[in-house]
């Protein structure tokens, strides 16, 4: 019996090619917008992650800390907080030189007043302001440590930005999703409305609701599948174009694609079933 329904769906698709293509195009447009949003979200997420990676903590060491002590400290930090790199006094002076850039000033300084330090790249879980200040406090307890510095304000701002961006993404994403549901639902509803008479006659012939609805739902799923494919192609094209200009713009990962297509199909299922249910109730006196 399933074969019959698929045949019916295909027949209807062919008989109303104009209607079907129109539906596919509308759905593809809506899905492409959703896809663009996903692409932007994905890449923004990646970028924020990458910025987050740069968050580090600088542990200034006592001048009298020996090499062995420093290595023990590094091992302990590796265990508890994350990877660390050693920056000797000479390296620190060199960096300072390039940072300041003005040789006049450096000449005035004369000797190197800078301490050696460890640059700690924290584990992702610790990359937020409360965790970082807690870490800093703990590290300052070690005898080898003179002081700990991290861009406290800067980290706080980044946290706020991150949270803001996430909220904005959720808000925009909600609108995109809602818009997509609307377009999906309404497009399928219009497609069903255009065949209202057919539904009416089939009901008069004694067809059960399932018999009437199944081919429509199948057709809606086919159309949504086609539309999702078209939409993904468009989004892929956009990604390719962007990648040429902006380094590091990558395409959606497979799981996101699967979720996208799956979500569209589920929505199409619900939307077409709902549209049909309504028509069946009003038509099938």
């Amino acid at each position: 019996m399933h074969l019959f329904f698929w045949r019916e769906a295909w027949r209807s698709f062919q008989a109303h090619r104009g209607l079907a293509l129109t539906t596919v195009f509308s759905l593809a447009a809506a899905l492409a917008l959703a896809g663009v949003f996903l692409l932007v979200s994905w890449n923004a997420g990646q970028a924020l992650h990458w910025i987050g990676d740069r968050r580090e903590m600088i542990v200034y060491l006592n001048d009298d800390a020996g090499e062995a002590q420093v290595q023990a400290l590094q091992a302990k930090i590796g265990e508890l907080y994350g990877t660390s790199t050693f920056v000797s006094r000479a390296q620190a002076w060199e960096e300072f030189t390039t940072q300041v850039g003005d040789p006049e000033i450096l000449k005035a300084v004369g000797t190197n007043p800078l301490p050696a330090s460890l640059r700690v790249r924290l584990r992702p879980a610790l990359q937020n302001f409360p965790a970082m200040s807690e870490c800093a406090k703990q590290l300052e307890q070690f005898p080898e440590v003179e002081a700990v510095r991290f861009g406290g304000e800067w980290v706080q701002r980044l946290d706020a930005l991150n949270a803001g961006a996430r909220r904005a993404a959720v808000a925009v994403g909600l609108i995109v999703a809602l818009a997509m549901v609307f377009v999906l639902h309404n497009t399928l509803r219009l497609a069903v409305l255009a065949r209202r008479q057919q539904v009416e006659i089939m009901i008069k012939l004694g067809a059960s609701d399932g018999f009437v609805a199944t081919p429509f739902v199948f057709e809606a799923l086919l159309e949504t599948l086609a539309a999702a494919a078209v939409a993904l192609l468009l989004v892929f094209g956009l990604q390719q174009a962007l990648a040429q200009r902006l380094d590091g713009v990558t395409f959606l990962p497979l799981e996101w694609i699967a979720a996208f297509v799956g979500g569209a199909l589920v929505l199409a299922w619900i939307a077409s079933a709902a549209a049909l249910g309504r028509i069946l109730r009003t038509v099938g006196a």
């Binding site: 019959f4 008989a15 109303h16 006659i201 008069k204 012939l205 004694g206 067809a207 059960s208 069946l280």
Partner: protein
């Protein structure tokens, strides 16, 4: 089999059926005669439960009265074949598919039965040469034949025919009436609604007459059903003064 008990049907103000009681047995042949707007189609729609009586009960077989569930209504309709006065063919399907759809919906027949059954029904109404045509590509009479084929293809227990020869010339009409008679003799109950006494005469069977929504069983054809006036001289001025024809539509 079909039983109406004090059935009244109003559409808003309009009284379409007024306290109608009658019954029809299994395998019976009944002709429902009535002028236009008398309520024939309304009576048939009550049988198929496309509409509900305002008061009274309609019982079909074991399904009796009240509002049936959607599933029960569908079940009922699968045991009834209806020739609609306006055919109600699916415009986007071929003649063959229109008839085959009814077979599929009935669910009574195996997939392999669908094609031969459909072809036989089309042959019975003389449409086998047109099976690939869409309804829009048929003449009006051919469309009516298609509607007939769809109604009889499942050999339903009850066949409702609403003016089934309205679009046919006398010879074809006689053939169709003969076909309906044959189906009745095979055991189906056939109820034929018509405005034309000559169709009633040709079909035979028990006659019930509807007049402005009221039932008169076995009544003789009334003045409204007189044959047309004789041919008028070509192009001659009309004898009758051009008074507006009396309306047949009002009168709740």
């Amino acid at each position: 089999m079909i039983q109406f008990e004090h059935v009244t049907k109003r559409y808003g103000e309009r009284l379409a059926l007024d306290d109608v009681s009658w019954r029809m047995n299994e395998g019976e042949r009944v002709c429902l005669l009535g002028h236009s707007a008398a309520g024939k189609t309304t009576l048939l729609r009550l049988i198929t439960h496309e509409t509900q009586p305002t008061s009274g009960t309609v019982a079909i077989g074991t399904l009796r009265g009240g509002r049936l569930s959607r599933a029960h209504r569908a079940l009922l309709r699968r045991t009834i074949g209806v020739i609609y006065e306006d055919f109600r063919l699916l415009g986007d399907r071929s003649v063959f598919e229109n008839v085959a759809l009814a077979v599929r919906i009935s669910g009574h027949f195996a997939d392999s039965d669908v094609i031969p059954r459909t072809l036989r029904a089309l042959e019975e109404v003389g449409l086998h040469g047109k099976q690939a045509a869409l309804p829009g590509e048929l003449s009006f009479g051919e469309r009516q034949r298609c509607a007939i084929a769809r109604a009889i293809v499942n050999r339903p227990a009850i066949l409702l025919a609403d003016e089934p020869t309205g679009a046919l010339e006398p010879r074809s009409a006689a053939e169709v009436l003969a076909l309906l008679g044959r189906i009745q003799q095979e055991g189906a109950a056939v109820l034929l609604g018509t405005t034309r006494p000559e169709v009633d005469d040709a079909f035979g069977g028990r006659r019930i007459v509807l007049e402005d929504g009221r039932l008169r069983e076995g009544g003789a054809p009334e003045h409204a059903f007189m044959p047309l006036p004789a041919a008028q001289a070509s192009q001659a001025p009309h004898a009758a003064p051009p008074a507006p024809p009396a309306p047949h539509t009002g009168g709740a």
